[in-house]
């Protein structure tokens, strides 16, 4: 068992599923491996993009694939780094069927010293017949500021500054 991955798993799940946009979308990370992540998104009426057919908006699929590829990129890191997305390219093969869950998987296919290359796909019934496919690249930025103590200190400062409304909402 990869020890780093054992620590990453609960951290990633917590960061992606329990806070911010991941929480309101309500997706679930179903598998985390070295350079491989899978997710599940149950259908939600709030995110419909086509009011005539009830199909979810493409933006949801952008969010899902961006998160999934981003998580896969994070699992490759060996030190205190962040991986901002450089670019994301999506091809929509066919519209998603309404009232059905969407499955997403992402895989890192190349990890270089500065850039991580990742591809992902989203499907409903058959992984061989995806609704969308994407490639994403992530920059590796070394930053001591993502260490645990710094994150705690920043949160503490924000509390002192009195930005309580955000804090309350973000932690809910």
């Amino acid at each position: 068992m990869d020890l780093r991955l054992a620590i990453f798993k609960p951290m990633l799940k917590l960061a992606m599923e329990r806070s911010g946009h991941g929480k309101v979308l309500g997706f679930e990370i179903t598998k985390i491996g070295r350079g491989e992540v899978e997710m599940l998104f149950p259908y939600k009426e709030e995110v419909v993009g086509n009011p005539v057919t009830g199909v979810v908006h493409g933006g949801v699929i952008v969010s899902l694939l961006d998160t999934c590829c981003g998580c896969a990129a994070i699992t490759m890191l060996k030190g205190p780094m962040v991986t901002p997305t450089m670019d994301l390219r999506l091809d929509y093969m066919h519209p998603a069927a309404p009232h059905q869950a969407i499955y997403v998987s992402a895989k890192v296919y190349r990890d270089t010293s500065n850039v991580i290359f990742c591809r992902g796909s989203a499907w409903q019934d058959d992984p061989e017949n995806p609704i969308a496919h994407c490639v994403a690249t992530f920059m590796k930025v070394e930053t001591p500021s993502v260490s645990f103590s710094n994150v705690v200190r920043r949160r503490f400062n924000r509390l002192l500054r009195g930005d309580k409304a955000y804090e309350r909402e973000a932690d809910k």
Binding site: A15, S19, G20, H21, G22, K23, V24, E45, E46, V47, V48, G49, N50, P51, V52, T53, G54, V56, H57, G58, G59, V60, V62, S63, L64, L65, D66, T67, G70, P84, T85, M86, D87, L88, R89, L90, D91, Y92, P95, V146, V151, R154, R155, Y166, E169, A170, K172
Partner: protein
């Protein structure tokens, strides 16, 4: 909850007559989910996304979720087609390419769209997002939509 094609047509016409692109956004549940809004700004449509906690991707910075920026730009591009072109169907997105240029800080994000080419079947739209200054964009998107 869905609406008929006829109802969509009526609402599109009304939005164009009243010069109020927000009426089209109101038809799409995803726009209120992320909090996207639109209005006429001199000669083009200005789209904006107010800051809200449910759009945060990285709580420690905090920064807006990259997927929300992507979704916002894709939504803006589709509205631009419905509002500025003579199209009565929700455009189907074929591909979407997004370059993240700067981090999306936790503040109001604006966007402008330009239709670069309109064919019989295909439309190419580019959308740019910025926060403080239109000259320093945070993301740029290009997308193709099928309109028939």
């Amino acid at each position: 909850m869905t609406i008929s094609e006829q109802a969509l047509k009526v609402d599109l016409l009304r939005a164009k007559q009243e010069s109020n692109p927000q009426l089209i956004l109101d038809l799409i549940p995803y726009s209120s989910f992320i909090g996207a809004q639109a209005k006429m700004d001199t000669d083009q449509v200005l789209y904006w996304l107010d800051r809200r906690p449910s759009n945060i991707g990285n709580p420690s910075l905090p920064a807006i979720h990259g997927g929300v920026i992507g979704g916002f730009l894709e939504l803006s591009a589709a509205i631009e087609i419905l509002y500025t072109l003579d199209v009565n169907l929700v455009p189907k997105v074929v591909d979407f390419s997004l370059d993240y240029l700067r981090p999306g800080r936790y503040k109001t994000t604006y966007a402008n769209c330009t239709v670069l080419r309109q064919g019989k079947k295909l439309v190419n739209v580019t959308a740019t997002a910025w926060q403080d200054d239109p000259q320093t964009p945070i993301a740029n998107a290009r997308c193709h939509f099928l309109i028939s």
